[in-house]
Subunit: 397 residues, 2 copies
Amino acid sequence: MSVTIRNVRHRDGSLMDLFLEDGIIGRTGPGGSLPDGSEPSVDGAGYLLLPLFNDCHAHLDKTVMGMDWIVNDLPGSLAALAANERENRLALGADPYRQCARHIRASLACGTGGMRSHIDIDTTNGLAMMEGALAAREEYKDLFHLELVAFPQSGLVSRPGTVELVDRALALGADVVGGVDPSSMDRDSKGCLDAIFSLAQKHGKPVDIHLHEPAELGAYDMEEIITRTKALGMEGKVSISHAFCLGSHIAGLVPPLLEKLAEAGITIITCGQPQLVTFPHIQEVTAAGIRVCCGNDNIQDLWSHFGTPDMLQRACYISMKNSCRRDRDLEMVLDLCTRSGAQLLGLEPWEPVPGSPADFMLVRGVCHAQCVAQPPHDRMVFRHGRLYARNCTVAEA
Amino acid sequence: MSVTIRNVRHRDGSLMDLFLEDGIIGRTGPGGSLPDGSEPSVDGAGYLLLPLFNDCHAHLDKTVMGMDWIVNDLPGSLAALAANERENRLALGADPYRQCARHIRASLACGTGGMRSHIDIDTTNGLAMMEGALAAREEYKDLFHLELVAFPQSGLVSRPGTVELVDRALALGADVVGGVDPSSMDRDSKGCLDAIFSLAQKHGKPVDIHLHEPAELGAYDMEEIITRTKALGMEGKVSISHAFCLGSHIAGLVPPLLEKLAEAGITIITCGQPQLVTFPHIQEVTAAGIRVCCGNDNIQDLWSHFGTPDMLQRACYISMKNSCRRDRDLEMVLDLCTRSGAQLLGLEPWEPVPGSPADFMLVRGVCHAQCVAQPPHDRMVFRHGRLYARNCTVAEA
């Protein structure tokens, strides 16, 4: 099957045509230049031609999207919210496979082609969520590049049996060893981090740790992560998600951390939640030579009703959060949500040139800055050379 | 003209029918109960029946929406951004009347029926923006309730001639005396506040002051505003917009301010910008007995490309910003964006009962909490008993 797309807008502002054949960009040319004959043709309408998004911090198994409305009347503490989810999710009917699959389809429809998703592992529900996520990954493997993180949300060494569950998850196919707040969640920074890095070494897999801890406490656990990363030669294989301590206002706290993170080749993954008081400033972190990736985090779940699978909306939040007023700053955030994420996930960099996979988005807007600052639903998502979704809704086959 | 709307969702979750005649709700009944015969009829599709929004902090004259894209490559300081706008806005073709009118139409299309808009007044552009805003107000007076604030953004007493311009604006029809950061903008808190309150007394008009100043500096100017409000018997007639100092983390700073604000009947107007570090916490401020109203602030202008005229999206930002996870907290924010704003603007409280004006919205969602946390474009806006806009776009006549 071949498709001609006319008059899409290149990054440099010019209009171009694309000829897609067998899932590949076969030819390109200036807008209006490709011959007719190759039907069907799609009017690109001057939409911006963009690489697909990579959502580097998701929680596929948590969403309750598509289920009956569940009233949230819970106290706000993280411990209470985590406990509620752990104890009630399955009884409420949140089938892990079905919910992961829904989230994947919704993400694809918005233009996300790759994702790293944390999947809860705990002694209450065992590997039920990981098994659902693995099945959903298999179902969508031709359309969606998915890395799964074995994520002991309720604690690792503090809940006996959890290390063994994470070990089994990694053997079953989880790609990354997860973790959360070694000091404040497990109350045992050394024990927790030793267990995480030991599992990573055993399975030869990377690490991605949620670090919500503020200020000096976060800095302490960050230093412990950096030390192990370097000692084990895991430079380039460790990520820290959230890293709120990097937004600390304490004089002198952040610059040495940035220097050490850069040396250890650690990636920072940020989600730009509006409520945060301290958060890693993307301009500062990227300027230190540290890779920054972005994600939607949890959406529409038992924690909160907020969030969408749309990484363009997320790029807008992250831009606002970081006061990215200038066009070039908005373009940088779009790069973090696309190209930088592709690097983390080990995907080839994508360019709109002959020979590239015909996997891309067309988004309404006069320039990249506009589509980030004023994110529209109007877009077309192409996968394997076919129109997969239009306006964030999966197209009819 | 009469219209029957079937099966809209009342706040209590039940379905109801509405019969609109001569711009009034003539009859209501349970869903499906009203007789046919009264054509045309509209399928309410179980959409939520909501009062119109009141956007209590807008900047109609600033938006460049609908104009050719203007690249933002400006340094981030407020002074530089304000100076750029003041010196270049007219040369860039931002016609005040046209831009105010565009903003009004876009706001109406999203379901906003009332607004308080600050309008820049300065010695460079004189009353050009106020004259445009007054003309736009006149043009839309049957559809849109608009209060205009004479807003000396570039300084009041520090720029000779500005007091006289504000005086003339109030004589021409501006409704409210504005101001900004008496200490840090004018470098003369006493002189600035004396001038503001003197103009308010002379014209018998209320006051609304932008207060971005943080911590102790903001607290100082807030106390000075409170003192004048009480001394002049202006309780209930003074608002403070932004009031970032109310989010200060300094122990003991905020509670006495809240107590004094409540005593002086001062309204706090918040916009929930994601980038803010300190901001008034709406739960804390409302719990102190202080009226809180909400607004979109400036949208798509020479300061930044961000923002939309949609108050439902704003309600979502404000909810996220204030960690309103629970359904009841989300419902509270919706009230702030509708009913609380109506109080500030002196509009009658609206209820879906016979005799009420047929001015309301229908919004897709299973409950109020959902439409705030996951704001859809899918909505119908009725003005004077007619469908004015659908999905945030003005309907064909």
